[in-house]
């Protein structure tokens, strides 16, 4: 147990260090930019500029600004958006968390559930046409970029067939196309992962013992096969979260979902630096936390490493 807590402390330390590094780099990179961030800067008089700078705290020396930024950050204050006058970034983002989180969850849920089912069927029916179809689905889902999926699905199902709304946010039906788009990659990856994992597991001795007990093919797959294949699937959650974040940027944009990703792209286009910084930090923090949780979770659910608390050795 002592071993485990040391492992934990080390992980948290590295996590905080990473986050600090990201915040610091982001801050100095953005503040080292030549010029100032205002729209129509040329039209402003020096006096106006000075007032604006003072309001934004840009007149102080850089190290002081850095300290102030950190102090504010600790209170959850990301500063004021340049794009929307006097709108605190925190408030701006809070309004947009809902749709992003909803889409993310829907996508990861449908994606992994579908992927696990497909992977399992394909492992059980190895080298049949079912297996080939799943393999093709997996390679397509893994290869085709999600914005290409988004565009094609939108064109086919919204523009041509009018089954789903083209874009915007409202009823559940608005979430279907973006969810499907975002679910593609997790589905493909988990299907492939589960298939390989299952094939390996189904060849192991304990599966033969399970067969000798009189369990049927599918009983074995569900009770022993799936159980042993699902645990390593947790390691896929980290990469999945990363690809969802990346995907959400374009997918939310294409379907005009009022989420964080859409705001990010808007902020990039309008050079809204406080918001860009805030979202960069938010994304990094989320990713770091997810990776940490995955690491912990893996230790918790796999009985083989639960006691020792060490990292699972790659076989």
């Amino acid at each position: 147990m002592k071993n485990f807590s040391r492992h934990l402390i080390k992980k948290v330390g590295i996590m905080l260090l990473t986050l600090w590094l990201i915040i610091t780099c982001t801050f100095f990179l953005i503040h080292s930019l030549p010029g100032s961030p205002y729209v129509n800067q040329e039209k402003l008089t020096p006096a106006q500029l000075e007032i604006l700078n003072r309001q934004a705290g840009l007149d102080k020396p850089l190290p002081e600004q850095y300290l102030i930024y950190f102090k504010n950050l600790a209170r959850g204050d990301f500063g004021t958006s340049f794009q929307f006058k006097n709108q605190p970034v925190t408030k701006l983002l809070l309004n947009r968390v809902g749709p992003s989180v909803q889409l993310g969850f829907q996508a990861i849920l449908t994606g992994t559930v579908m992927g696990v089912i497909l992977g399992m069927i394909s492992a059980m029916r190895q080298n049949t046409w079912v297996d080939s179809i799943v393999t093709i689905i997996a390679i397509l889902g893994r290869s085709i970029p999600n914005f290409v999926f988004a565009v094609i699905l939108q064109y086919l199902f919204a523009v041509k067939l009018s089954i789903f709304p083209i874009a915007l946010w409202g009823k559940f039906s608005y979430t279907i196309l973006p969810t499907i788009t975002l679910a593609m990659a997790p589905m493909a990856n988990s299907a492939r992962f589960i298939r390989t994992e299952m094939v390996e597991v189904l060849n192991s001795d304990y599966i033969e013992l399970a067969r000798s007990k009189g369990l049927s093919h599918w009983q074995i797959a569900c009770r022993h096969g799936l159980r042993n294949s699902l645990i390593p699937l947790i390691t896929l959650l980290g990469p999945m979260a990363v690809s969802l974040m990346t995907g959400s940027l374009v997918v939310e944009n294409i379907y005009a979902v009022p989420g964080i990703g859409e705001q990010f792209v808007k902020s990039i286009i309008t050079n809204d630096y406080p918001t860009i910084m805030a979202i960069t930090i938010l994304y990094s923090a989320m990713l770091i936390i997810i990776l940490f949780v995955v690491d912990l979770l893996y230790g918790l659910v796999d009985p083989r490493i639960r006691v020792t608390g060490g990292e699972r050795l790659a076989a």
Binding site: I14, P145, Y155, V242, L249, I276
Partner: protein, 350 residues
């Protein structure tokens, strides 16, 4: 004493004489020996032989070679200047000589009716745009070839740089060992915690988007995986007898690394690089799509797709062409990478 089915017909009279065995039982079964004389294959020949058996990978390699040939060859034999604007030929749908299928015959649906836009625009009958033209009257096929070329160049440069940095870092870290290795590993761990996406967007909001800044943005975190894999493999190899023997004979660390370790981890490096190329293509297209990509008049698959998307309700051909090419390239690279990995290490199928 005798079993019923025991028959002694047609047996030679000396059947029950002891058998003289030459070399008394030295080798058991008939034909159990190794089939000697099979040519021994080098590591790469063996991998190549296995890769050739993988139909998907071979087909992918062929398609990729074709795409590369077309897009790079187009510098010399382009159907038209990809940047030449001709406002008389704006937004024309694809038209291929002799093809009458809707979508490739110059016809398009305007206000609910299918009309020949080439006739409508008073375009000379001997003018064909195989993939149509865009909003500035530029030939789409030429732009597509140029964009593909650009995407491939960016991806290959980024992958090559990832490889260089990653291999050097990984090998140095493994060879140094001890505290240096520990420090270098912590640094890697921190870098890998930073989302690639955040770094890239930050870099491109600060620097003017262009080939250099896009490549730079991609390699900041891109080389981390390569470094990890190389370090792990190097550590494993350092324990092997032939490396220990070289060290015992007084070879320097650098010499061991270059002559003994590098050739032996080249398979792993190639596999890793095969996977980083499609990743780079994806990110380049992704950045272009959200408006952080190359600036006009340069074009990549991402910018073409992004432009095509803006008008895809009315001019879908401008979106389909880059979307299909991008998807095909991605699929082929992934299939090829899978094939190469299986060929180099049949056990590593995951």
């Amino acid at each position: 004493m005798l079993p019923e089915e025991f028959e002694l017909l047609d047996l030679p009279p000396n059947a029950f004489e002891p058998l003289e065995i030459s070399g008394a039982g030295a080798d058991g079964g008939a034909g159990a020996g190794d089939s000697a004389g099979a040519p021994s294959l080098s590591f790469f020949q063996d991998a190549w032989r296995r890769l050739k058996k993988n139909k998907g990978a071979v087909l992918s390699l062929f398609i990729l070679a074709l795409i590369a040939l077309l897009s790079f060859g187009a510098v010399f034999i382009s159907p038209g200047d990809p940047n030449k604007q001709n406002l008389a030929y704006v937004n024309l749908p694809p038209k291929i000589p002799g093809v009458t299928i809707n979508g490739f015959n110059g016809a398009a649906i305007v206000a609910g009716e299918r009309v020949d836009k080439y006739v409508l625009g008073n375009i000379p009958p001997d003018v064909y745009f195989y993939l149509g033209t865009d909003g500035l009257g530029r030939d789409m096929l030429s732009r597509l070839l140029m964009g593909t070329r650009m995407s491939l160049i960016i991806a290959i440069i980024a992958a090559a740089l990832d490889l260089g940095i990653g291999v050097a870092y990984g090998m140095v870290s493994a060879a140094a060992g001890g505290r240096v290795d520990g420090f270098m590993q912590r640094a890697l761990e921190i870098l890998s915690g930073i989302p690639t996406l955040a770094v890239m967007i930050l870099m491109l909001t600060i620097f003017e988007p262009g080939i250099v800044s896009i490549v730079l943005a991609m390699i900041i975190t891109g080389w981390v995986n390569m470094a990890r894999v190389v370090r792990a493999q190097t550590l494993k190899l350092q324990e092997r007898e032939f490396v220990l023997a070289a060290a015992a004979l007084g070879a320097s660390k650098a010499k061991i690394a270059l002559t003994h370790i590098l050739p032996n981890i080249s398979g792993v490096i190639i596999v890793q690089m095969m996977f980083s190329i499609p990743t780079a293509i994806f990110f380049e297209a992704f950045l272009s799509f959200i408006g952080l990509g190359l600036k006009v008049p340069m074009a990549s698959l991402g910018t073409l797709l992004s432009d095509g998307y803006k008008t895809f309700r009315f001019l879908p051909h401008l979106m389909w062409a880059p979307a299909i090419v991008l998807s095909v390239i991605m699929i082929c690279f992934n299939l090829l990478a899978d094939g190469v990995r299986d060929a180099f290490d049949p056990k590593m199928k995951k």
